[in-house]
């Protein structure tokens, strides 16, 4: 045993190690719930023992050993288990050195992510399970982040585990092709987790900010495991470049502040620099994907010191690439905005109108809001007010509704229409 470790270091290390130990256990057994219980018990033992008696030389091996013994013990009789319990922790140090080679490699976090972002799960379940098993958040913390009762979240997580256990989809991912697809699922879950926190981080629901931070932490870990995977790097860059603007995007009472009106001094320079150099380096490798394109667009916004200095022609070019790559109406809508910024509001409105027949987005408040903004740019006050009010009545976000309603009211009150060259 080495010298005694300060408690905070132990906590930090355990949080890093727990998902890897869980991942390693799950390669031996499909029983998610039992594996997680075993890891929890091993962590508890570590929390009690390590600060007192010192950190083992191979903390991961120690945890893996204790946890896998706990799992084996579960299968034995209670009698035998009780007898053994006291011995296991004592033996762990000597056993840890002999842990089978490769039992605890860095890839275990990745394997665990594959498991938690399982295709049989709905996105909310996958997010919850990922935060619990990989992120190490408590059920209470996750419940509070999603504004649901703790019992509800506990049940959601436990059902997710059962779904995985009874699913036909293999836990460990076999071929390269399946692996690539599952990795796409993982990135999507991390993206949704971030969004869940970011989109609602205004106003009364400040606690949800934690979800964004956690999503970035997990994406960072994934990027460390797969430094050459371009879309993982792209997603990390996108999250950093988006989160960098968080402090500027809402006022003291949670009111939304649009990009062009934000105080850019509030943007987080360090995050922007990290995101920008990451996306620049990734782009240079030449395997461009949707997350990378979105990150590149975010970085162009972040690099402009004033809204008027935004490089819209470049952003438009990137949206054109993105639109070709994905059949997503939201991308098409953003493409329409960029078009308006470069070729004028009329050109943008033509694209918006062509989208109105797409039933995936018709009736969506974003379509009405974009139309309202572009009509305002054109000086069509009455039509703009109508569309802002329509968007306000359709949005499901309170800060957004307040913003759109206020926009309409200002125009109705005679405030001059914004123009593109003001």
């Amino acid at each position: 045993m080495s010298e005694a470790a300060p408690e905070s270091d132990v906590g930090h290390l355990l949080r890093e190690l727990a998902p890897r130990v869980l991942g390693a256990l799950l390669r031996r057994s499909r029983d998610f719930a039992a594996a997680e219980d075993a890891v929890q018990e091993a962590l508890l033992t570590a929390i009690v023992q390590w600060p007192a008696s010192g950190m083992p030389r191979n903390p991961g091996g120690w945890l893996f050993h204790v946890a896998s013994r706990r799992m084996d013990d579960r299968r034995e009789s209670d009698e035998a288990r009780r007898k053994r319990e006291t011995e296991v922790a004592a033996q762990a140090e000597s056993f840890a050195a002999e842990v089978e080679p490769g039992a605890l490699e860095h890839d275990d976090t990745l394997e665990l992510l594959f498991t938690c972002c399982h295709p049989a799960l709905t996105p909310p379940s996958a997010i919850a399970l990922t935060l619990r098993a990989v992120g190490g958040l408590t059920t209470a913390e996750i419940a509070s982040a999603f504004l649901v009762p703790e019992a509800t979240m506990a049940q959601r997580i436990s059902r997710a585990k059962q779904t995985i256990q009874s699913s036909d989809v293999p836990l460990a991912t076999p071929g390269a092709e399946e692996r690539a697809k599952r990795l796409g699922d993982v990135l999507h879950v991390l993206y949704l987790t971030f969004n869940e926190g970011y989109a609602s981080s205004a106003g009364e629901e400040l606690q949800r900010v934690e979800l964004s931070t956690e999503a970035i932490r997990l994406t960072r870990a994934l990027h460390r495991s797969l430094p050459d995977h371009a879309e993982t790097a792209g997603l990390l860059a996108l999250l950093l470049l988006t989160d960098a603007r968080r402090r500027a995007r809402s006022g003291p009472l949670g009111e939304l502040i649009p990009l062009d009106e934000q105080d850019r001094n509030l943007w987080d320079r360090a995050m922007i620099d990290e995101g920008t150099s990451l996306i620049t380096a990734t782009f240079a490798k030449g395997m461009v994907g949707a997350y990378q394109l979105q990150a590149a667009i975010a970085s162009l916004h972040d690099e402009a010191d004033r809204a008027e200095a935004t490089d819209w022609p470049q952003i438009l070019a990137l949206y054109q690439l993105l639109a070709r790559m994905s059949d997503n109406p939201m991308v098409a809508l953003n493409h329409a905005i960029a078009t308006a910024m470069v070729h004028g509001p009329a050109a943008g409105l033509r694209l918006v109108d062509s989208l109105a027949s797409d039933e995936r987005i018709a009736g969506h408040h974003r379509l009405d809001a974009v139309r309202a903004h572009l009509l305002e740019f054109q000086g069509e006050r009455e039509a703009s007010i109508r569309n802002f009010r329509l968007a306000a009545s359709r949005t499901l976000s309170l800060p957004e509704r307040n913003y759109l309603m206020t926009k309409a009211a200002r125009l109705a009150n005679g405030e001059p229409c914004k123009t593109l060259r003001s």
Partner: protein, 130 residues
């Protein structure tokens, strides 16, 4: 004791969309500050605003066959739930006080709106007899 405060659309007077911006701002600010005050007093349990009535639906099972689904918007004369608070307070008197505060939210021209607030106690465990 817990109470649910249900705020209804008054259904009369000009819609908030048509107010001047400063009146809208004052109204929104008032509501956000009310929630902050309730939280600071340790009385806040939950508060939610509901999406527009245009998106509302009424669903009824039929005796046999598929359910009957009625789309909004519903007739304007009908009072509709716009949002609610759940508060945990020491007395009904305090719940009434909160409801009265919410009802007096500033409206057009900064005048009190007198929003109808339906106050209902939430049922709980039986009282322990001593």
């Amino acid at each position: 004791m817990k109470f649910m405060l249900m705020m209804h659309y008054a259904g009369k007077g000009p819609a908030i969309y048509t107010w001047p911006p400063k009146d809208i701002q004052a109204h929104i600010q008032f509501m956000l500050e009310l929630n902050k005050k309730l939280a600071a007093a340790g009385e806040f349990v939950d508060a939610q605003g509901l999406a527009g009535a245009e998106q509302a639906k009424i669903v009824r099972a039929t005796k046999s066959g598929p359910p009957a689904i009625t789309d909004g918007p519903f007739p304007e004369s009908k009072e509709l739930l716009a949002g609610f608070w759940i508060v945990d307070v020491a007395s009904e008197k305090r719940a009434i006080e909160i409801a009265a505060t919410a009802s007096a939210a500033p409206g057009l021209g900064g005048e009190r709106m007198s929003i109808p607030i339906e106050l209902r106690q939430v049922m709980g465990a039986p009282k322990i007899e001593t």
